[in-house]
């Protein structure tokens, strides 16, 4: 555990909680504002493999999501059309963000932040879903230590077969 000062810890946690609020309130345009222009947003596909499997991970792999900012804009633009039927009426989501761990990065103005998430999703007709996992973020420090932008997010999902895909959410 590196010597992260409590103020920085608080500032990062507050930033993550505010982000979760934007997502759950579906203020996606405001959420996009918090992302660096060079953001890389990745949700790798995971699978169940034997414990001693030595097959090398291939260099080229599909991911559930592999978006830059323009790709994330496409997803938000779809939700803003008013024609995204899977979101009519809107899905209710709740992001619970926990276990926030901060480590310095090799870049002086960046922080490596890991957090755990649990996302509860409710759709019409008592249909529910949930996702748990870990986010590996790179937060870039702007001006002072209370403002950040998200420069990279890798989402490690704990589901291998996604139990639902009527999802317009961001992790």
């Amino acid at each position: 555990m590196s010597g992260v000062n409590p103020e920085l810890q608080l500032a990062v946690e507050r930033w993550l909680y505010d982000e979760a609020e934007l997502l759950d309130d579906k203020r996606f345009d405001d959420w996009l504002e918090r992302l660096a222009d060079d953001i890389a947003y990745l949700v790798p596909i995971r699978s169940n493999r034997p414990p001693r499997d030595r097959t090398a991970q291939p260099a080229e792999q599909s991911s559930h999501i592999e978006d830059d900012k323009s790709g994330l804009r496409v997803r938000v633009k779809r939700l803003n059309t008013g024609l995204a039927w899977a979101e009519d009426p809107p899905t209710k989501t709740r992001h619970l963000i926990t276990n926030v761990r901060i480590d310095p990065s090799e870049m002086p103005n960046e922080l490596q932040v890991k957090s755990n998430f649990f996302i509860y999703i409710a759709r019409p007709n008592v249909e529910q879903a949930s996702f748990a996992g870990e986010r590996h973020d790179v937060l870039r420090v702007l001006e002072n230590e209370s403002r950040f932008e998200l420069a990279r997010r890798t989402v490690v999902l704990d589901q291998t077969i996604l139990a639902t895909n009527t999802l317009s959410l961001f992790f």
Partner: protein, 433 residues
């Protein structure tokens, strides 16, 4: 099962009207029909298993399902592919719990019987001490999938030892199959990493859509089409693409774009500029050289189903197979595919755009899943299950166009859907099991 069929037969015939113009809601929810499907569709037909490139080396395996039967598909030392039930012959526990990997043998974790990569029983724990005689290897090996075909780098299997050869099972769809999968020397590469997700709905909705449903596209996917079309390009390219659909009485269906002038723009929007250019300059001419111009440079397949459950969206670079999980749920396994000859920038555009549009979290996939989910929800109701659904679109006299092999209609016809459900019904009600 045969008794059940005899008992059901009078009811079966009415499920899909003789002209195919209407359909009973029961086909999507009935548990008895579902059990019949497992025996008569999934244990009979050729089913897609895995891209051969996903299991390149001896011992490489991929775990999947044929119907609800779990199977291991394994590359053999001689380069062939074997598939067998993922079920130990002692008490039926699984031989392998992983999705994919490499194995020298498969050992059941219950009592430790082991099997080689072809599913042949090798060792029985305690055999020399506790069994009166050696266990008969021929009788007690894992149940092999008797028929395997590798066609253009795609592995198919059938549980029916007497099934026609895979090529013959394509019937009049063979030229269209080639126009999708045999366009180049190297065929299609699957990018490693299979998308897997569950949909709450009946598998036939997804299959029928891939065979024949150009109709839903601009409504279901309106938001996604608007979203992927860059600012300044005006409205999404809707009615500008006149399309046609081939359909086979065997249930296969393939949609083709006839507006080749617009295709480069469409490819650029859907996939990316490199892909658009490469398709015009290399991919289509190369395919035309192998297959002739009709289904390569004059028309291009844009969606298709090889009955019952193998679907391809060529302009979106994805193949998928639908695995039934009861009448009310199915699993999708999908891969992003690119022509083997494609340069790195085309592979990258395919990988990224396919995930965005048609991966498990793809924006187009969400639209479809929501609709299928709603259908299932309503069909929990008694009155809803007594209803019939309309499949009459384009049911006028067949427009015969000698230019094309087989039967081709405009995409504003549901002929492909009618044929899909008639074929399904024929299999269910066949005389012998």
């Amino acid at each position: 099962m045969i008794d059940a069929v005899a008992r059901l037969r009078p009811e079966l015939e009415g499920l899909v009207s003789a002209d195919g113009g209407s359909l009973s809601a029961r086909v999507f929810v009935d548990e008895q029909l579902y059990q019949l499907e497992l025996a008569r569709v999934f244990a009979k037909c050729w089913l897609f298993l895995v891209p051969a490139g996903e299991i390149p080396n001896p011992g490489d395996f991929f775990s999947t399902y044929m119907g609800e039967d779990p199977v291991l598909v394994v590359r053999q030392p001689d380069g062939s592919v074997a598939a067998f039930l993922n079920q130990c012959r002692h008490r039926g526990a699984a031989l392998c719990r992983s999705d994919h990997g490499n194995a020298k043998l498969f050992q059941c974790s219950y009592h430790g019987w082991t099997y080689d990569t072809a599913g042949r029983l090798t060792t029985v724990r305690g055999e020399d001490k506790n069994f009166d005689a050696p266990v008969d290897r021929d009788a007690w090996s894992a149940i092999r999938v008797p028929r395997i075909a590798i066609e253009n780098g795609l592995v198919f299997g059938s549980f029916d030892a007497g099934a026609p050869a895979f090529r013959d099972s394509l019937g009049d769809a063979a030229p269209y199959f080639d126009a999708m999968f045999a366009r180049s020397e190297g065929g299609l590469d699957a990018i490693p990493g299979a998308f897997r997700w569950r949909v709450k709905g009946n598998w036939k909705l997804a299959a029928e859509q891939a065979a024949s449903d150009g109709y839903h596209f601009f409504i279901s996917h309106a938001s996604s089409l608007i979203a992927i079309t860059p600012e300044g390009m005006g409205a999404p390219p809707k009615a500008r693409t006149p399309n046609i659909q081939f359909s086979s009485e065997l249930g296969h269906g393939i949609g083709l774009s006839t507006d080749m002038n617009h295709l480069p723009t469409n490819d650029a929007i859907r996939v990316g500029p490199h892909t658009s250019r490469w398709n015009v300059e290399v991919e289509r001419p190369q395919a035309a050289e192998r297959l002739g111009e009709l289904l390569t440079t004059q028309n291009r397949p844009i969606y298709g189903l090889i009955f019952p459950t193998f679907a391809y969206l060529p302009s979106n670079h994805t193949i998928r197979v639908f695995l039934p999980k009861g009448p009310n749920e199915f699993e999708v396994i999908a891969w992003t595919v690119v022509p083997h000859e494609a340069p790195p920038e085309v592979r990258e555009e395919a990988r990224i755009s396919t995930a965005r549009a048609f991966g498990a979290l793809g924006i187009f996939e969400q639209d479809d899943a929501a609709n299928w989910n709603d259908i299932r929800h309503a069909l929990r109701g008694y009155a809803a299950r007594q209803t019939r659904f309309n499949m009459e679109m384009g049911s006028g006299p067949l427009r015969v166009d000698e230019t094309y092999p087989g039967t081709v209609q405009t995409s504003e016809s549901e002929l492909g859907s009618r044929r899909f459900y008639r074929r399904w019904l024929n299999l269910l009600s066949a005389e012998q099991a």
